[in-house]
Point group: none
Chain length 290, copies 2
């Protein structure tokens, strides 16, 4: 008897399928076609939906070499388990050496980050933008590398809502601001692994104050996402290099600002124009020359 590479329980099933009795074939096909339900729902449930006898599932499992349905389902479950390792970093690319190692590193980095951007869920951003639009005041917090994201967001939002946006801790110790959060205000916290205590404290303060909490993070399990009304996810680890990537967070911040601006309508537009006029008056920018 030839042992056909047990790559996955599903392929074992498919291989053994033709040599099985008719009823077991039907059940086997049903399992192959609905393997997600097979791992989640109960045997009797499946039997009912497949129009078959519950016992057939146990018999099928035994027919292809398992001790019973339970063991087969466990195998299917493991096979379906989402890979804990990042999907892309499989290409370790440890070229490390060679003339163009640096260029290769950059190219890989850029490609990986480009691939990550379209995977950012847009819907939550739109919802968060509406929350920002409704907020009487907007607080922004980000520490360490995330400070840059926080400042960008602060800058862009202040272009059209200058009086209502500010960074947590900008004008003194964080603690002073933490006590200033109020219901009806929005607090944006940016962070990813490893999470700073400071960001978690801001998130908790926002929560306890009843403010709308918006978390920009790399995982739904991030501490500052707990209790958040909106969680905007990006992939921080998707790119090679010694440090997590921030392009995703930046892209989210910019989208957030753009949509919030769009929601602001003519009022926001007018305020932006005012700001630009003021900057031009102090001649901040180099005049476009010919």
């Amino acid at each position: 008897m030839v042992e056909p590479a047990k790559s996955s329980p599903l392929s074992e099933l498919r291989i053994a399928l033709p040599s099985l009795p008719m009823r077991l074939q039907e059940v086997g096909r049903f399992v192959a076609a609905n393997d997600y339900d097979a791992t989640t729902r109960s045997m009797r449930d499946l039997a009912a939906e497949a129009g078959a006898d519950p016992a057939a599932f146990t018999r099928l499992a035994k027919a292809i070499g398992y001790s019973g349905w339970e063991e087969l389902r466990a195998a299917l479950t493991e096979a379906r388990r989402p890979s804990q390792t990042a999907p892309f970093s499989g290409r370790a690319k440890c070229r490390r050496h060679g003339p163009n190692a640096d260029v290769a590193l950059i190219t890989d980095k850029l490609e990986a980050e480009a691939a990550g951007l379209p995977r950012i869920p847009a819907q939550p951003i739109a919802e968060a933008a509406r929350a920002l639009h409704d907020a009487k005041r907007i607080w922004i917090a980000g520490y360490r590398s995330c400070r840059s994201v926080a400042e960008l967001l602060n800058y862009e939002l202040r272009l059209f809502r200058p009086e209502q946006v500010q960074i947590v801790g900008a004008s003194g110790p964080d603690d002073l601001d933490l006590g200033a959060f109020r219901p009806g205000e929005a607090v944006i916290v940016i962070g990813f692994l490893p999470y700073t205590h400071a960001s978690v404290r801001v998130a908790q303060a926002a929560y306890h104050a009843g403010a709308t909490l918006i978390a920009i993070a790399d995982s739904v399990t991030a501490p500052m996402a707990e209790g958040a009304d909106h969680v905007l996810l990006f992939e921080a680890a998707s790119s090679p290099g010694f440090f997590p990537s921030l392009t995703g967070a930046i892209a989210i911040a910019q989208s957030l600002a753009a949509v919030t601006f769009a929601l602001g309508g003519t009022a926001a537009k007018k305020r932006l124009e005012n700001t630009e006029a003021r900057l031009a008056a102090v001649s901040t920018y180099v005049s476009e020359k010919g």
Copy 2:
């Protein structure tokens, strides 16, 4: 109180988490972090692995509005079902107006930015990194929205070269720093249209001082690129929205830091480890829980 769109059972859990009793929080975090196991394995199994009481799972489910653990798990199972026809990336593209105008805007923005990244030339970045590696000291300047890029670059470079990197104007008026530029040092200036006078002044000061000038800009004709030893280009206007995109500049900054770090070899690695150890010692980060 606004009802924050109960999109997924996981977000319901996340929202309710902080208001839960301690043990239920632990269990809730465990579920959020292991939602796949939550849908496939049994309650008692999970309880054993989480080191909690089985009853806590039932109580958790009830606490967030379900009739019991069974119902919560069913909801999680449905949420995880793979064959879901893409939730909203159906790309309705009924842009400009309609309910999903915002989502369409965001999706377009992200895609445009993703498309822009691979167009960034890698070779100049590698060369600039080598210049940074050789520089005795590194100055970084960016104003307005580019300040965020400057600060990110400053942060990442300081992780492994703490004494040699600083932002222009960080410790006083810019003018003081402008006079400090020396040959053998590197000055990085980030900017795009409309260009600020401040950034141009920094670039000119660097040029006249004989320092190595690295410009991160949106055009070779940018004023601060004049006389620059290295010009790193990105597309600021490639994305829709009211404001130029910074993802390209951020990606460049991160690549620059990564390659400079790689060039630093073991010395850089050691200094990074020192920095991390110091941060861990003052317990900046939330310890990864068990």
